[in-house]
Symmetry: C2
Subunit: 503 residues, 2 copies
């Protein structure tokens, strides 16, 4: 065990508190990964129902530990209890959705093409394909969702659902939540009779840990939610390996919102209220925060609403000192640019407290100051006064985004504009707010680079496919096939047989 330790820091007062957590050493990480790797074959071979039961058991263990989890999470993150409780529930639901998917076998994508002597251009042997787990996965949790995108969040849950052992790099902003969550998962594994080796955690603030995990030979993929800086570092590290591995990095986004003149006329104030609430939700620390709002009409009514909402909003703690420092610096630097209105409260540096800041400017100004088109994590949003004719140019100049939103008037025929938004984002929202990422099959949480490193979703049931790869079994005797591909379909899963989907 390392002699280096660290404590959690309470963002409300900026003070370290509680338990000393040991920094994971290279030896500990190596040993944990070896154990992960040694357990991979047995874990991959679990029956569908055993795997589904495990995911459900983890959910119920989280529920049992809910009071303790929420208590320590509140101290470590400054997030209000109500939201933390909702996030625990969401994390349970994520696990339960993957459990339901695993029970149906849908994640296996089983396809059977029977032998066909008349197949063209050559006779076809019996061909049966299914997804197999790719092997041990390293997950890097995010600071802003201590449950849903952390230790047993979507990345870990989908990797376990795929059949991959997982090692989590606990986010150093919430070591206590991570430890309690890890223990809940271990209790679930034990009660299901599965080796605890399939799920490991490493604590620490040492940046070398990231390198150890990304470069470990046995690690087959990385799941990450966080900053573009660390995400790009992980991509670079994993591409530099002798055997490169995929990095599924969700690196945040500006989530541009476009408001037409008709929308402003019809409901400008309510759109402003909706987007204000969306922007300051979670102190603006959501990856789907609306960071850019383009108003294709007079923006004064919109801005007036923002000003008035600002008066009522309280200050909120940011998640950690790094985020606060970068936020304060960004706001300071952006405030020095002339010709920009800044709507904000006072920024305090006691604890990690900050107030939201909206910047308001003309399109000409926006175009000449690219720093406004960069992500500034925390409660900053840029409002740009432009005309609807500018929307296409803005979209063409935009980098990849998790979401893009359009507000239009009743029955405005804006299908072409919406199609263009689909070219820059993973999710296009009509007349809504980008925050609120529904955990559902139709969710696509991931967009073009740099919002994500791949064309996959990290939220919703399709996230499981990131950690599987297809393997074809050709000319097999039935009893040598994996159960999912056997003729009798013993697990009663959905399969496509000679082009027809059936159970």
């Amino acid at each position: 065990m390392s002699s280096q330790t660290f404590q959690a820091v309470n963002p409300v007062d900026g003070q370290p508190f509680g338990k000393e957590y040991s920094e994971g050493t290279h030896g500990e990480v190596t040993a944990a990964i070896s154990a992960l790797s040694a357990s991979a074959t047995a874990f991959a071979a679990l029956s569908l129902s055993d795997r589904a039961n495990l995911l459900e058991k983890i959910a119920s263990e989280l529920d049992s530990a809910r009071a303790d989890l929420v208590k320590i999470a509140e101290l470590e993150t400054g997030i209000p209890q109500a939201r933390l409780n909702g996030e625990v529930t969401r994390t349970m639901i994520q696990l339960q959705l993957f459990a339901a998917q695993v029970r149906t076998g849908a994640h296996l994508n089983a396809v059977i093409d029977l032998a066909d002597a008349d197949y063209k251009p050559a006779p076809r042997p019996d061909m049966r394909k299914m997804n197999l787990p790719i092997g041990p996965v390293a997950v890097f949790g995010a600071s802003n969702f201590p449950f849903a995108f952390s230790t047993i969040g979507g990345d870990s849950a989908s990797a376990l659902a795929a059949g991959c052992p997982v090692i989590v790099k606990a986010h150093p902003s919430h070591p206590g939540v991570s430890e309690l969550t890890f223990q809940a998962v271990q209790r679930a594994l034990k009660s299901c009779g599965i080796s605890g080796d399939v799920f490991a955690i490493v604590q620490g603030r040492n940046p070398e840990i990231t390198h150890w995990l990304a470069l470990a030979e046995e690690i087959c993929a990385v799941g990450f939610t966080g900053s573009a800086g660390v995400g790009k570092l992980l991509v670079k590290l994993c591409n530099s390996r002798q055997i490169p591995i995929p990095v599924y990095a969700e690196m945040g986004s500006l989530n541009p919102v476009f408001v037409t003149a008709a929308a402003m006329t019809e409901r400008g104030v309510s759109i402003a209220e909706m987007l204000f609430d969306s922007a300051v939700l979670g102190a603006g620390q959501f990856c789907t925060k609306p960071g850019l709002i383009f108003i294709g009409a007079d923006h004064e009514p919109f801005v007036a609403t923002i000003r008035s909402k600002m008066e009522s909003v309280g200050s909120q703690p940011l998640l950690n000192k790094g985020i606060l420092d970068r936020y304060v610096e960004s706001v300071k630097s952006l405030n020095q640019i002339e010709g920009v209105e800044s709507i904000t409260g006072s920024v305090s540096v006691e604890g990690f407290i900050a107030q939201p800041t909206f910047f308001v400017m003309d399109y000409a100004h926006f175009k000449t100051h690219p720093e406004f088109a960069e992500e500034h994590f925390g409660p900053t949003t840029v409002i740009v006064k432009c005309s609807e004719e500018d929307f296409e140019e803005i979209i063409a100049q935009s980098q990849g985004q998790l979401t893009a939103t359009l507000h239009i008037g009743a029955a405005e025929p804006k299908a072409a504009l919406l199609q263009k938004l689909a070219t820059i984002a993973g999710r296009v929202i009509l007349n809504g707010a980008p925050t609120g990422v529904s955990v559902t099959a139709a969710q696509s949480h991931g967009g073009p680079w740099p919002s994500s490193s791949t064309h996959t979703t990290s939220v919703g049931t399709d996230a499981v496919f990131r950690f599987m790869r297809p393997v074809t079994f050709q000319g097999f005797a039935d009893d040598l096939l994996p159960p999912a591909l056997q003729q009798a379909n013993p697990e009663k899963i959905e399969r496509v047989v000679n082009g027809v989907r059936r159970i």
Copy 2:
């Protein structure tokens, strides 16, 4: 137009012949890619039936040009007419299969989750997800399949099926086939009323062309079939971009075959005959050539069969001088290693003619000479005498493979061994030969690195998914949705609505 030109070379006599082809210039490549990009939106918006019709029309244009295509292909590749004719048919079938898939809309993976006020943990808005084309694709054809993996081979066909414009780097070993194929595609586009800009070709031997294509800002993905050297270069180039793009590279493999003692006893001679034929098929220039054969028993009967088959096999031209030179050098260098039996004919250097070479050695010898575990393109195969107990160690040491094959005796319970083979390969074959890649839904042609750069297949209908990415449309009015997601399902495609698959 460049002043640099080159001719095709006939591999049978090693002489250049026929037309002078202009080396594509940077300006031409840039202009073609700009045109590709400008045509992308309209091409993506084609209806499913228009896109399917195009793919079918390309197939029929290939059929109409078949005589000319086969004639020039024979001159440029030295491949016999019968195989070339079969390959034209296969290439047509690939296009027709993608057309059928496009008609059903299965490649869109349409998922609809209706608004649900009771959804947990928060009300769900109307969420509708489908795959969209990722944009212009650069395809690098292979020399060894002048039709099926070349100009309008699987990569191009699947990219067009996805809705992506394509620029092909024609393989300089068959510029004439590439040009005629390009013209056939252009006729199909014209007859379907689609801009010819969506399909471009660049000829040349200048290695810079690869860099121009991989680094062009408008290119969104690369499809490649060929050597590990060029495949890895493409991966490196595309990762170095400001916006990295996916490279779907199929880089070949050794395709290990394992033969148990029981299999040898029951049918050793017929297995040897089957694997010999598989190894020398296409002069050993298939990416699924069995390059390593491990015999877990006395290998003399097997080797005796190889010796006797060798007497009857004729010499075959290799595809080009580069392949021949590397083949001759490999064989020469491997022959200098002591304790290795070499079964071969004489290697001629008139034209690009070569005879197959089988190397035979003990497992101890194989282990101490890693050069035998590398891919040597052309008709070389290594036979290793070992025991069945060694199989697990061999598999554990193996790099990623396109295929892995096991020959067992009747009712041998080798399920665990087959499972292990599935960890190193994209396709596992029981009691068969690795060559013969059926174009079917259950095909997985792609395996762990370095056989492929991603966990995807380049053969079969799933290849289309490489060139699409999911986008969610949230809270849309029905008439603003793409047709595939509209409530009335005007294209009658298969969709999953609230978890239930239906049309």
